[in-house]
Symmetry: C2
Subunit: 339 residues, 2 copies
DNA sequence: ACGTGCGGTGGGAACGCTCTCACGCCCGTC
DNA sequence: GACGGGCGTGAGAGCGTTCCCACCGCACGT
């Protein structure tokens, strides 16, 4: 009785087979839910499995199947720092995580910090340690998605990738969101509408500015632009500049709620009432927007939805299906007190 | 020339060996940096490796080494939702991620949502898909850490685990942090000091209340307690209750910055000036604390440091070293305007 | 000149699984 | 009553590594 069920390493298929009095192949069939197994045998095997506490060894399985059932989510490290107090970061992770869990896949998180980590990520993906890669919110024209895609690794980007690499992506409708914001300001009678744009090396920054410009141009208004980097402080700085550039402005579309928060603080410091003197519309609809004074009118983007959709597309792609080049999620105007 | 270097699957050790005119074993030695390889041979092998673009197959490697070089970070799903606008979540992830990257290990993120996912996590860890597990901020006495540890999986908890399972953990010094906060209030001449505690099924909630009580008892003051759940709204509700319970209170220690934010709003609504009438000290030192009106005096806890330390301990544990049962990180009083 | 020891190398087994293929059995059919 | 066709099962060959062990030469000591 020395060979009891006591933890002498995890049991293998072989041992389960022996215990159940069948062959390895049959146990494998049961484990993988093959229909061609007689009912009594299947029952016997299942009992053996649970008696022995058998859990398939993923490494062995991957070795032969060439799949790992896990996917990487790559986030630029600065994202986690700069955006740590809005909810993009946790939201995307949550969305992706949910979808992966539903599909019973693993989520490997890679924070791309240094340039060196690019190498690491490439090697990792190429080592076929993951079945696919999700890349979130890049700065500038990152070559990574293109490189990976070219090497045959399924890739889906979060946010339209800059550069000419044609990689499928999921994005929110930044252009239209910005237009909605500006239109709301116009509809409520504002005439000198400025904007605090996001960084112009990020799609979200670029597209929201584009939307602002388009909507303004359509109604023959002049654009007044300052650029921030999505942080609260940059919003404050940009607001000061705008007030200098055009003291008469009566509305601002700010490309992120965090920047809007900074901007409103400056407006109040300079004695402008919000929304009476200057109306403010943000973008993102982060939690904070509900709690600022005044509560922020903003454009809601489906953050969790973005993550979920990215995951869904990637799963399909890795499953061999063809997926659309782009999926664009709608935004929604949320009217609160600031405009 | 049909067997060129063209992408016919990834090259294997065997192929590299052939290409370099040596044996598989030797290539393996080079790849793993064994010292017993003659210099010219090593050079030849390295050339072959780069020429063929060889990347070791992790599955095959794991199969024999019984290691995967990846670690799981388990987060209760609600964490990502409830705490999405403080920085605990991203901060811990960032800290863990950094340390893992430095050690060249992978980070597998598992969001423990439903109870069903507990099963999934257990199976996953037991399948030896990871070399160790990090469990962050549990609610109540979660059996998971104990179970895993008992099965021989290296586990480190973030936050002292409730329940009797003796699992090594890393935590911030909640008790002392709370004492620092209360002491500061006492030192600045406050006498009726209330507290808004966190949920009493979480260590952070319990310990911060303990610290408050201890410090107050040491100076013979009465404690006035309301309980929230770390969310902003619960802070507001608790504040209202405190004002009813004791309209004379002149200070509040709030167990999280988010709740402090809600509390301050209520104080202002009810016409109390902060800090003149009522001083407020928070806990966490999240980004927001710097931007509220008035800026929040609070207890800073090293969030990134928590993640990093957890990772460090886990890596050592998985490496076979013995690690301390607990590591407690210091907190620090940050005086701003609210107290 | 011939053992002895050691640094360096190659061969082979093993890791735990999947999957193809061949085999045995039972049933239906002529 | 013999034969063909399924269906269910088992045997075996890998998948790409690592690691143990055997081997080979060379320098050294006797």
């Amino acid at each position: 009785m020395t060979n009891g069920t006591v933890a002498m390493g995890r049991p293998t298929l072989e041992q389960v087979a022996q215990h159940a009095g069948v062959s390895r192949a049959t146990v494998s069939r049961v484990v993988n839910g093959s229909p061609t197994v007689a009912e009594p045998i299947r029952a016997a095997v299942e009992r053996a499995i649970s008696e022995l506490g058998y859990v398939p060894n993923q490494a062995a399985r991957s070795l032969v199947t060439q799949r790992t059932d896990s996917f990487a989510l790559i986030l630029p490290e600065w994202t986690t720092r700069v955006f740590s107090d809005d909810q993009l970061f946790p939201g995307v992770i949550r969305g992706v995580g949910q979808e992966m869990e539903a599909a019973d896949k693993q989520l490997v998180l890679m924070l791309a910090g240094s340039a060196a980590s690019h190498d690491r990520i490439e090697r990792y993906a190429l080592a076929r340690h993951v079945d696919g890669v999700l890349i979130a919110s890049m700065h500038g024209a990152d070559p990574l998605p293109g490189t990976l895609a070219r090497m045959g690794v399924p890739v889906v980007c979060g946010g339209r990738p800059l550069g000419r690499a044609r990689v499928p992506y999921v994005d929110v409708d930044n252009v239209n969101g910005a237009r909605q914001a500006v239109r709301h300001l116009l509809d409520t009678g504002r005439s000198r509408i400025a904007t605090i744009a996001g960084p112009q090396d990020m799609v979200a920054g670029i597209d929201r500015l584009t939307g602002y410009r388009e909507e303004l141009r359509d109604s023959d208004r002049r654009s007044i632009v300052a650029v921030g980097d999505f942080t609260r402080d940059s919003g404050a700085v940009a607001m000061k500049q705008l007030l200098q550039d055009d003291p008469q402005l009566d509305a601002v579309f700010v490309a992120s709620d965090l920047m809007a928060n900074g901007a409103i603080r400056v407006l109040r410091e300079q004695g402008r009432r919000v929304p009476d003197d200057v109306a403010v519309v943000g973008f993102d609809d982060i939690e904070l927007a509900r709690y600022t004074e005044p509560a922020l009118t903003t454009i809601r983007q489906p953050i969790d939805g973005l993550g979920r959709e990215m995951a869904r597309q990637l799963l399909r792609l890795a499953g061999g299906e063809t997926i659309p080049d782009q999926v664009v999620l709608p935004t929604e105007l949320v009217v609160r007190a600031s405009a």
